[in-house]
């Protein structure tokens, strides 16, 4: 009962601290949005268009590109602007619709629409392929209309309209690209990447920073006062542990809900995700309490804590996938708990893992949690006894 009383008082203090709330709840969401937007991948290609034709054919190509899913069109006036945009990476690809395109199509002469992309840039190559498919689709309509005009009846305009209608009616052989995720070693892109990694990063980092609260409570002689009451040291320690776990869980649940509701993040198998979140919260709580017993001043905890938290996050694959670093760095990365947590999220989100498949990671995280808690509680007991 007294454990709950101690935890309630500490949690109430955190809820009063606007700065703490900003770092606990607001900042992680902001970072998820920024990182999620940055690593959106190829879901929307930025395509620049210079339409030198200005005739119906040119306008129709621009309209077709604008209608195409996953393509965002920006118009430019010169080829130089277009190529500069592609070279600087501002555009995934550029399209130049030549002057006289409409007239050439009507006369049946061969025509070319230039698509700009750097050969070594896989993003740009993918964008160019997507753009080419739209242009070729439009080309097939023009080709049909030209054929019908040359060998049948009706005007070119009427045949063009008819060909477009027929194309919509005639069943087509379609294709879709399916991402091979069965053995993916990285998280899905977009918010599905940023939300779990930021959860791992912020729960740990916030806990380290919150170690300042233990130092503050020591400085205020509150532990002395609690111990002068009929309260055992282990009760005080249990109360503090419960506080840290509760705060970490609150932060985790906020990130999960914001991720799921606002950004459509799927958190995978619910049971496995819940177990992972709970265990990670205990890891964070242990690390935060340990920080509270290692640092001497709240200022130290507030400055050194985030540095350590960020360093661990970098090593553990919260900033970039460990799949892209050397095997040595990957091994070193697994010395910190973040790597195991990110591995577990990768398994859940990219490979449809279950609690069984992530049990090795959960086991390692339990070991980290136990290590941190044992060290923290023994140090705290010594400090308050």
């Amino acid at each position: 009962m007294r454990v709950l009383l101690i935890a309630r008082a500490s949690i109430r203090r955190v809820m009063r601290d606007r700065t703490a709330l900003f770092f606990l709840l607001v900042l992680p969401v902001l970072v998820i949005i920024i990182v999620g937007a940055t690593v959106r991948g190829f879901s929307t290609f930025r395509v620049g268009v210079v339409n030198a034709d200005q005739g119906p054919a040119g306008r129709e190509i621009v309209a077709a590109l604008s209608r195409a899913p996953g393509i965002a069109v920006t118009t430019y006036t010169t080829v130089h602007q277009l190529t500069t945009g592609v070279a600087l990476g501002e555009l995934n690809t550029g399209v130049y619709v030549p002057k006289g395109l409409d007239a050439a199509q009507r006369s049946g002469a061969p025509v070319h629409v230039d698509v700009y992309a750097e050969q070594a840039n896989s993003n740009q190559q993918a964008a160019a392929t997507a753009v080419a498919s739209v242009i070729l689709e439009r080309g097939s309509i023009v080709q049909a209309a030209t054929f019908a005009t040359a060998h049948g009846s009706g005007t070119y305009e009427a045949n063009l309209l008819r060909a477009a209608q027929l194309q919509r009616q005639v069943p087509r052989v379609g294709f879709k690209v399916v991402q091979a995720q069965s053995k993916a070693s990285v998280l899905p892109q977009g918010y599905s990447y940023s939300a779990p990694t930021e959860l791992v990063l912020f729960v740990f980092l916030s806990a380290l920073t919150a170690g300042a609260a233990i130092i503050e409570t020591r400085r205020l002689s509150m532990y002395e006062r609690m111990r002068a009451a009929p309260v055992r040291a282990r009760t005080i320690i249990a109360g503090e542990t419960m506080t840290y776990v509760a705060i970490a869980l609150l932060q985790s649940v906020t990130i999960v809900l914001v991720g799921a509701v606002l950004f459509g993040v799927s958190w995978g198998n619910p049971l496995a995700a819940a177990a992972l979140i709970l265990i990670w919260s205990v890891v964070g709580a242990g690390a935060g309490m340990l920080a509270g017993t290692l640092f001497r001043t709240p200022e130290q905890a507030s400055s050194v804590g985030p540095t350590v938290g960020l360093a661990f996050a970098m090593l553990g694959g919260c900033m970039w996938p460990l799949a892209i670093v050397s095997s040595t760095m990957r091994t070193v990365g697994h010395l910190v708990p973040q790597a195991w947590a990110v591995d577990a999220w990768t398994s859940l989100l990219a490979r449809h893992g279950t609690i069984l498949t992530i049990s090795p990671q959960l086991g390692m995280l339990c070991a980290f949690a136990a290590l941190f808690l044992v060290l923290a509680t023994s140090r705290l007991r010594r400090l308050i006894s």
Partner: protein, 263 residues
């Protein structure tokens, strides 16, 4: 040790006939007021008292009544729902003491409760401590201010370097000085040198310095004064004031420890 914060090297602590180190419940008999203001600054006065009271297993109705009682006692009823960090130093001190009274302890342990307190608040705190004594509560009061001990304590223990070197009533302690007086030489210059010179005068029991004076314990102060002034002149020290003080706890402390308490 009385509050259970330190393990005794030897001996036992008995409170109301119960061994403190054997029963956790004995702590219900003790109210502890640390030297620092041990309150959460970001909680209100009421929240702090409610939290600390609940540690003594006071149930909701009783707890609310005790909290109201302590707020009344400390004149903080009007500020009950204000955060402690918005209080003045004196208000915090009063609340700090009040928190030790929530569970109606039989023994109140006050650790230098007036350190850093303005004279008005200090007076109010001492008044309350005296009132607790009158109401039958035992008060263990630690202080460096001898005038506070003179005012509020029935029995005085003098601790020097962690050892209890004397413990008795004020009267008995002062009687140990027999005919000795405390002579206070308010002076400027090399006070340590003057203190050394004073100690060499026959009849001088002890001499020690404060920031602005040399305190001398000596018998037959009338005969001693000219000798002390001569010693000051020889030591190149200018004596500005001379006070011959009736035997008091300050003189007892100087007599027993050979050091003067500094302000």
């Amino acid at each position: 040790m009385v509050c259970g914060l330190l393990e005794p090297d030897c001996g036992v602590v008995t409170i109301a006939g119960r061994r403190a180190e054997q029963e956790l419940a004995v702590r219900n008999l003790v109210g502890y007021v640390p030297q620092d203001v041990a309150l959460y600054p970001d909680l209100t006065a009421r929240e702090n008292l409610s939290f600390l009271g609940s540690l003594y297993q006071l149930r909701s109705k009783e707890l609310a009544a005790r909290v109201a009682e302590v707020l009344e006692l400390t004149d903080l009823t009007e500020r009950a729902n204000d955060r402690v960090d918005s209080f003045s130093g004196g208000m915090k001190r009063c609340l700090n003491i009040g928190a030790g009274l929530l569970h109606h302890p039989k023994l109140l342990v006050l650790d230098e409760p007036t350190v850093g307190v303005d004279p008005q608040s200090r007076h109010a705190i001492l008044e309350r401590v005296q009132a607790f004594g009158r109401e039958g509560m035992a008060v263990l009061y630690t202080t460096h201010y001898m005038e506070e001990a003179e005012r509020v304590c029935d029995r005085v223990g003098i601790v020097d370097h962690g050892r209890l070197i004397a413990e008795s009533t004020r009267k008995e302690l002062v009687e140990r000085l027999e005919e000795r007086d405390r002579i206070e030489l308010g002076a400027s210059g090399d006070l340590e040198r003057l203190a050394r010179a004073c100690r060499e005068i026959p009849g001088v029991e002890n001499a020690a310095t404060t920031d602005t004076s040399v305190q001398v314990v000596a018998s037959d102060s009338r005969r001693m004064l000219p000798l002390l002034l001569e010693a000051a002149e020889n030591a190149g020290v200018t004596v500005n004031t001379v006070d011959v003080v009736e035997p008091d706890l300050e003189a007892v402390f100087l007599h027993l420890t050979g050091t003067a308490l500094r302000d």
